[in-house]
Amino acid sequence: MKRPSHPALVLPNLPRRRFLQGLAAGGVLAGLAPLLKPARAQAAAAAASGYAPELRGTEFDLTIAESRVNFTGAPCIATTVNGSLPAPTLRWREGDTVTIRVTNRLREDTSIHWHGMILPSQMDGVPGISFKGIAPGETFTYRFKVAQSGTYWYHSHSGMQEQTGLFGAIIIDPAAGAARRAERDYVVQLSDWTDEDPMRIFAKLKAQSDYYNFNQPTAGNFFRDVSQDGLTAAMAKRRMWNQMRMNPTDLADISAYTYTYLTNGTTPAGNWTGLFKPGERVRLRFINGSAMTFFDVRIPGLKMTVVQNDGVDVEPVTVDEMRIGVAETYDVIVEPQDEVYTIFAQSMDRSGYARGTLAVREGMTAGVPALDAPEPLSMGDMMGAMGGGMAAMPHGGDGAMAMDHGAHAMGATTVRVRHATTEYGPSVDMRVDTPRANLDDPGVGLRNNGRRVLTYADLRTVGGALDPRPAEREIELHLTGNMERYTWSLDGLEFGKSTPVHFRHGERLRVILHNDTMMTHPMHLHGMWSELENAKGEFQARKHTISVQPAQRISFLVTADAPGRWAWHCHLLYHMDAGMFRQVVVA
């Protein structure tokens, strides 16, 4: 990628349109942001944004409708709940039975899925699986007992409404009364907004899957490598990627070229701000409500103590930075001493960022860091343990030796990988035979960046697994796709060609997810917890969404105690809709 040589240009490679808008928005791009008042007026529109209203109690009325918004200078239509983007924060209490009446004022079907909630399948809100959806003009009443506590979220499970704004936070206070761990408590919901019609984006990706990638290897990169490392090394670095028609800069399907990244529905220029008094403990409930974007979150000058993940308390771990996968939640505690800090959430492909501020009063800003340089995928991301983190694949006998060492370092599994018969056709552009199973890799772009970055190996659910039984049975699914065709599937089969996955009611099951692609997929199983285990089979963390890195093979245990039909899919919206989706039948 051509990095801008001008350090003041904090948003590199912006399209001209956004660039001009950025200037019009108050010179943020010229690095003048600290001098200016938050331009919240920029987001002024029919939809309220910034602070989602908080609704408490046991009875809720939510109306889904279209609202006018303007995040980029171009007026657009968003899908909102009660006219708010994000949707109102729902505050529940563990043990209560909640009743939520959802009215559809759209011209198309809608739905709400309560992400991570353990509830009866007909309340899960997935059209086509748990119910038939909510037709225009119709009101659907959800009613279920809240059997858990923590930070969760809700979103539409219909069409592309999640992309157009239908997402909101759920905070569930523990039945025992919140042992309040912090004086301040903020939801920080990250999302990706586009002015484009999501189906238009989809059609573009089908036509040219690297449409939004402006970080592609160029001839200039090649000649720079030649001058630095010599021709042989420069060729070797590229050989396997080009031979396989794989792009090492394929870090995100959709970038800031079209996305504006939002914090609680507020643009970076709008600068969402959470207030505190020095010395207070501040709980930040990070929710990644975006359609397609992994965020790497940090607050320069502050350590973050992660206390909860996916609604479940974890043993506190203090980090500088964390990657939050789409649909994951992380609660962190920070203890700010100075007056102002920037919450900086850069997209995984480093094309842009969401931003907010923690300050002692409104209107303050701290410096916004420059985006990190995007880091290309490694050989380990392509080949797993066999890739061994080597910059390039050596050829011949020495290479085999080197690979053996690499394999041990990467936590190679000794299993012989069995791919599905349907992974040998046009739907699968690569398969990984030597996966890596280690959980202590923060992922591409965060390796060895000098900061203490959270990994899944750091997550330890308080109290251990819910079910002490070992697995009685194993199910293996491979995450597959064809980037050139922009198709996404499991075991090489898109949803339309698949058959349901049957969990026997009551059984304890090991699910193995094996990533045969070079993208990270946040896999979300509805209705039941996914109890992540490490490569040795030891319980690690209870989650509702597990990000599986390229060429990684992970496993989790499930107790199939929730009869009915459930969705199971990649939570990258376009991957899900492309067919990286299964129905699970518990019976």
Partner: protein, 350 residues
């Protein structure tokens, strides 16, 4: 399948009338083996030689052959494997054994395409006989997507002729089966000099390759003619876009065209596109000034600037050479057998 070759409009030369059989043989062997060669080279280190379709399907089963994506229908293959009707050497393990001394290549080669080994998993094994239940769920894998790419709409300055050339491709359908429309031609002084339009069924046969089967219809100054078209289009290793086709027409006419291009990113928006195409005919066609055998070769180089991905003006040069009977026609018409052209145009899609 560029027909843009400068076609002298003279009609007095008799054709050589080579056998139709030769034309078909030529077309069958040239088109697919082009892509196979590229694959073979990609899996370097095994001394794979170019293979004809025949060799690929029935010949010795080397590891290289196994990893060729082109020659196998994956579903059929895996079925055969499960039924054990295939020689043991066909399995992944068998192939791997031959090459276990070269782990690197084995790794690369077994990661893409190929045939399912005997013990590959059944992706439906977990269903327990359950169906999808009462509610239909239709995701985008059941949607039709469409796109129109006008790859070239350009003004061409040739030695003694200025004209406008177009080359477009439209597609509509799903991921693995779609309708493909290809059209190209030359327009001079408001009249279509020669144009060719194809309507094809594109069917994915391998991760990076589609077969294309359908009809081609030529119009223009010469009498119209129709062809049956069989082609293969896709992405060869090292990112070469390949489009190869064989055509069978009436009265023993046959043609083969092979086209390849590459996109060299000078920057994220400035793209240099080398392009090569070759056309051969089975039979003389005096009306179009085409001789049998290799007829023309076009080498192009276009530099485009993507103002948006979908909208890119370009400039370029093109060298066109005529060979064999076609060259004779050209000479007889007082034309050069090769020429350099300058082009300027627009590439756009939506």
């Amino acid at each position: 399948m560029k027909l843009r070759a400068f076609t002298p409009k003279i009609t007095d030369k008799p054709s050589h009338l080579p056998a139709l059989g030769a034309a078909v043989l030529l077309s069958l062997s040239v088109a697919p083996s082009w892509a196979q060669d590229a694959e073979a080279e990609a899996h370097a280190g095994h001394g794979a030689s170019a293979k004809t379709m025949e060799e690929m399907n029935h010949g010795a089963v080397s590891h290289d052959a196994m990893s060729m994506e082109m020659d196998m229908n994956m579903d059929d293959m895996s079925t055969m494997d499960r039924n054990g009707e295939m020689a043991p050497g066909m399995t992944h393990e068998g192939a791997a054994l031959e090459k276990k001394d070269d782990m690197t290549d084995r790794g690369a080669m077994s990661m893409q395409g190929g045939a399912a080994p005997l013990d590959a998993r059944d992706p439906h094994a977990y269903s327990g006989g359950h169906d999808f239940g009462p509610f239909p769920l239709r995701l985008a894998d059941r949607h039709n997507f469409g796109a129109l790419l006008v790859d070239r709409l350009e003004a061409v300055r040739a030695d003694d002729d200025d004209f406008v050339a177009y080359d477009l491709q439209a597609r509509y359908g799903r991921d693995y089966d779609r309708l493909v429309l290809k059209a190209e031609g030359d327009v001079s002084d408001g009249a279509l000099e020669e144009g060719s339009t194809q309507l094809l069924w594109g069917h994915a046969v391998a991760p990076f390759w589609d077969t294309q089967l359908g009809l081609r219809y030529d119009t223009g100054e010469a009498p119209d003619q129709g062809w049956l078209a069989f082609g293969i289009q896709g992405l060869a290793p090292y990112w070469f876009e390949v489009d190869a086709a064989a055509y069978v027409g009436a009265a023993g006419r046959g043609a083969v065209s092979v086209e390849a291009e590459y996109e060299l990113l000078l920057t994220q928006n400035l793209i240099l596109q080398p392009h090569v195409e070759m056309t051969a005919y089975a039979k003389d066609d005096g009306e179009r000034g085409l001789g049998s055998g290799l007829s023309d070769v076009v080498l192009g180089l276009r530099l485009r600037y993507e103002i948006r991905r979908e909208f890119a003006p370009y400039i370029g040069m093109e060298w066109v050479g005529t060979y064999g009977g076609s060259a004779d026609y050209a000479r007889a018409a007082g034309k050069n057998t090769d020429e350099m052209r300058v082009v300027a145009g627009l590439r756009f899609w939506f």
